[in-house]
């Protein structure tokens, strides 16, 4: 992460209402040059609305937003010349080929990269004459990233770039995003995959109901809430939660995704007393394991809900 000079995005007190619904309700943040910044949150959290205001697609009701030092309300055209945009839904002229679409989009900008370079960058060399309607989901997503890069932008917005992709396609997209950062681009992305945020983002903002709940590096967010690691296991029958909470080192006991999770500051002590208790009740804890707290835990702790509910 290299943050230097003026931030590429500066947002302050941003609000956007749809009727009575506060889609974005007082959001403030900055993104530094060269940074990959992620907005993590469930559907309807206001991530897309925020990113679309920055892209010049929507006007905010209140607050200010600057992209590359320009006010989004006053200079949308100059901003659009310098940013790259990938929208949530991948939809393009279905009957145009990869090459035709890249040529076409290039013509919208004052400066644009050679089409072949873009095709190579997203590894679509063998599909360049295919119509976009005939591409696989991962290929379409790569094309839409290539389209976001036609003008060699300083800042790229990616709205849920990997939603709906299989794990392999997701990995190849992550490599693309890492490549962008290596070439000095700033990236702002939204996602509801905590793994993606952990893998890609220098900093993350957790968003829910139009608010940013927490912001920082993934490690900061986890350490801010969980100084401990977690012991997890499946049990049947269920062990009594009140007794689990009193085991050695346990800070908090919780049920998450059908598993019992014990957040602990003393893992060996917790496991020792857990096994003793299970033994005395003749219960066998299956799939016992230890892990670090994750962004998912952070989100659950912040909102009381799992991220993908």
């Amino acid at each position: 992460m290299t943050r230097s000079g003026e931030p590429v995005i500066r947002v302050s007190g941003l609000k956007k209402l749809y009727g009575d619904v506060k889609a974005v309700d007082g959001v403030s943040f900055e993104v530094g040059r060269g940074e990959v910044f992620g907005m993590l949150g469930p559907n309807g959290a206001g991530k897309t609305t925020t990113i679309e205001i920055l892209e010049g697609l929507r006007d905010p009701d209140e607050g200010t937003a600057e992209v590359l030092g320009l006010d989004v309300c006053k200079h949308p055209q100059s901003i659009k010349q310098r940013i790259g945009v990938q929208l949530q839904s991948v939809s393009l002229y279905p009957r145009l080929t990869v090459r035709e679409l890249l040529d076409l989009f290039g013509s919208f900008f004052e400066h644009h990269l050679p089409t072949q370079q873009l095709i190579d960058a997203v590894d679509l060399g063998e599909r360049d004459k295919a119509r976009s309607m005939n591409l696989s989901g991962g290929q379409q997503q790569r094309l839409s990233i290539a389209l976001a890069l036609v003008n060699d932008p300083e800042l790229v917005f990616l709205d849920e770039p990997t939603t709906g992709l299989d794990p392999q396609a997701r990995r190849s997209l992550w490599d693309l995003v890492k490549g962008l950062q290596a070439r000095g681009k700033s990236v702002m992305l939204t996602t509801h995959y905590m793994e993606e945020a952990t893998e890609l983002c220098d900093r993350v903002a957790i968003m829910d109901h139009g608010h940013i709940l927490e912001m920082g590096t993934v490690q900061e967010l986890i350490r801010r809430r969980f100084k401990e690691r977690a012991v997890f296991f499946d049990t049947s029958p269920q062990l009594p939660m009140d007794r689990l909470a009193r085991l050695d080192g346990v800070v908090r006991a919780a049920q998450e995704d059908g598993q019992t999770v014990l957040y602990s500051s003393d893992i060996p002590g917790t496991i020792g007393t857990l096994l003793a208790m299970a033994d005395s009740l003749s219960v066998d804890p299956h799939n016992l394991g230890i892990r670090q707290a994750t962004l998912e835990d952070v989100f659950l702790d912040l909102t009381g809900r799992a991220l993908r509910d």
Partner: protein, 360 residues
């Protein structure tokens, strides 16, 4: 401007790669031309019925009648001018030849005698044949009777036959229909592009709205001109329809008509959310319009209240204007009024579209 042209090319490419769209845009109207041409066009091999009115009733007029009777491909029907005009309007006879009263006296005195012929300008093929025959016979009579001096002359008159019988009437109608559909149907891809987020994606580039709208209009106008060329071309080459008007005026009307219906299509697209909705509403707009605007049968056959409705429909005026310019048919309104009404539709719908069009 260059960007707009690039986008227009992209739109045209998209259209040419979409077989269903190609069919509805180009093949469907041509099918109409062939269908109606087959029904009403008539074939060249059968005899042509010609009305013959003998107002003179003298041996001289009988001789003229005989001269026409000897022409192999003509069938003469005699009767009063009134009755025969009626027959002609119903398509039973293709032309009427009148030998006026006093023909024998005139011939004897070698004073000029005008032989009247009524023909239908929208049936150019028959008209030319009959004209040729009449001129030949008249020359023959002149030669025999008057040693070559022009005693008998041809007094040409026109009578517009009942429209349904003439493919010439239908070609401008089908053209008007095609332009109407082209414009109104433009709502569908637009709603589709919005629903799929293509418009939104374009909105995230520096592309200006006028470039986007302009490219859509340009694409459709290109298609409109192609359509007009195809329909008129087939009418002229296959069904021998004569276009009497000036082609520039036809082109101007094609563009005005296409633009007016495009504006209607864009205005519709502003209010429609989904592609399914759009396909339904477009049909609700275009099918009644097709039948109420007198494009396939004359307007006057409609009951009064439907005529009133038809008087508000833009298609009525586009078809009327094209007919007047192309084949000089009976008119619903003067050409200037047609143009004015189409322009009014264009302006109103365009401002509605500009005000309420949504990009997502």
């Amino acid at each position: 401007m260059k960007t707009m042209l690039r986008l227009t090319v992209a739109n045209v490419k998209s259209l040419t790669r979409d077989r269903a769209a190609l069919f509805w845009t180009f093949v469907f109207p041509i099918m109409f031309v062939f269908l109606f041409g087959a029904i009403f066009g008539g074939s060249g091999t059968t005899k042509i019925s010609v009305g013959f009115v003998d107002e003179d009733n003298t041996p001289a007029s009988a001789a003229i009648s005989q001269a026409f009777g000897q022409v192999e491909f003509l069938t003469l029907k005699t009767g009063s001018l009134e009755d025969l005009k009626d027959s002609m309007q119903h398509g039973d006879v293709a032309a009427i030849i009148v030998v006026p009263k006093g023909a024998m006296t005139a011939l004897a005195a070698k004073t000029p005698l005008g032989l009247q012929i009524y023909t239908d300008p929208s049936k150019s093929q028959t008209t030319q044949v009959i004209d040729g025959v009449v001129v030949q016979i008249v020359n023959h009579i002149n030669l025999g009777l008057a040693g070559g001096s022009e005693v008998v002359t041809v007094d040409r008159r026109t009578l517009q036959a009942q429209p349904l019988t003439a493919i010439g009437y239908l070609v401008p109608s089908i053209l008007a229909m095609a332009l109407m559909q082209l414009g109104v149907f433009a709502a569908i891809p637009l709603v589709q592009q919005r629903e799929k987020g293509i418009l939104k994606r374009l909105g995230a580039t520096p592309l200006a709205r006028w470039q986007l709208v302009g490219s859509n209009i340009l694409e459709r106008l290109i298609v409109a001109v192609l359509n007009a060329v195809l329909i008129i071309g087939i009418g002229v080459l296959v069904f021998k329809v004569t276009i009497i008007g000036n082609l520039l005026a036809v082109a101007a009307l094609v563009i005005l008509g296409a633009a007016a219906f495009l504006a209607i299509g864009f205005a519709l697209a502003s209010f429609l959310k989904t592609e399914d909705q759009a396909s339904g509403v477009v049909q609700v707009v275009q099918i009644p319009m097709m039948f109420l605007s007198g494009i396939f049968f004359s307007f006057e056959f409609l009951p009064d209240f439907l005529q009133t409705i038809a008087r508000f429909l833009p298609l009525t005026y586009l078809a009327d204007a094209l007919r007047q310019v192309m084949v000089d048919g009976t008119q619903v309104a003067p050409l200037g009024v047609d143009v004015l009404i189409l322009t009014a539709w264009l302006v109103v719908c365009l401002s509605v579209a500009a005000r309420s069009f949504r990009w997502e």
